[in-house]
Amino acid sequence: MNPSDIARRIEDRIPGASARVEGAEAHFSAVVTAPGFEGKSRVEQHRMIYDLFRDEMARQEIHALALTTRTPTEWEKERRQHEG
C-alpha cells in the first residue's frame, strides 16, 4: 500500500473524512479529521481507522500507522490557536 491508497480508503469509508497520509515501506502516519469522531474518545477514533486496515496490519503490509485524529471542531480550534 502507498500513502494515497491509505488516504483513499479512509476517505471512502468514513463519511466526510479528510486524510493526509505520509510514509513508505509499511510505516505510515496519518492525520484524519471526520465529523464522525465527534463524541468519541481518542481510542475509539483510532479504532475506527485501524479497523479499515485490519487485514493489512495482520499481514504486516502496514507495520506502523501513527494516527492523529481530530473532529472538525477541534481542528478549527487548533488552527485558530496556531494563527493566534
Binding site: H46, Y50, M57, A66, T68
Partner: protein, 108 residues
Amino acid sequence: MEGPDILEMIKKEIAANPIVLFTKGTADMPMCGFSARTIAVFKEIGRPFKTVDILPDPRIRQVLSAHSNWPTVPQVFIDGQFIGGCDIVTEMYEKGELKPIVEKAFRK
C-alpha cells in the same frame, strides 16, 4: 506457556500494576521507536511502571491485541484501563492529561 496462560499473564500484569506498558524490548533497551517514545514519557512522569516485552513470544502480541482490540504495540494500561498507544499517550502527555490519571492510579 500455552495460549490461555498468556491471556492470564496479561490480565494478571494489568491487574497487579498501576501502570503497565506492553512494548517491543525492555525499558532499558526498547527495540522500536514507538515503544522507546512511550517509555520516555513514563520515565518523565517519574512513577514506577511495569514493562512487558512482547518480543520473546509472538503469541503475546496476538493474544494482547485480541484482548484489547488494538492492533499495534506499544499498549498502555493505567489502573486496569486501556489508555492507548504511542500517539494517544504522547498527545495526552503534551496536553497535561496523562499525569493526573497516573497520580490518581497511585492514590489508591
